[in-house]
Symmetry: C2
Subunit: 80 residues, 2 copies
């Protein structure tokens, strides 16, 4: 079963990498971008056909390893 975990910085947490990308886009002449926040995405293949079991495994993986829940939010999406 394929799934995607998206990890993003909580609002209020500074994102210097995102700021650098904003600056670089302006330098490249790409106008109209107000703000950029960078996060991580994990495309994960889970060995189960049970959707809610897959959700549980991925939630545990995100809480224990993929995300730092002090400064990051995560979302789990089972694609089937």
């Amino acid at each position: 079963m394929k799934a995607r975990v998206v990890v993003t910085l909580k609002s209020g947490i500074l994102d210097p990498q995102g700021k650098a990308i904003e600056g670089a886009l302006k330098s490249l002449g790409i106008a109209g971008v107000a703000s950029v926040r960078q996060g991580k995405v994990f495309d994960i293949e889970v060995e189960t056909d049970d959707r809610s079991r897959a959700q549980d495994v991925l939630r545990e993986a995100a809480e224990k390893l993929l995300a730092n829940t002090v400064i990051e939010n995560f979302s789990v999406e089972v694609l089937g």
Copy 2:
């Protein structure tokens, strides 16, 4: 207008970081994960109300800066 650009490695491109995460999940006792591929996500605020204009700006940003199109795919999703 809010949008999300997701950048993932093309299939066939090695992902040592993903492999390391697979190993770490096993070490943590989280079973049932067959494979992990890591990518990047950019949450971008675009200064326009025109959906197709936003798409164009983001596609250009992805091609010129956010993705290395030799080894990476990207997708643009305008959230409105």
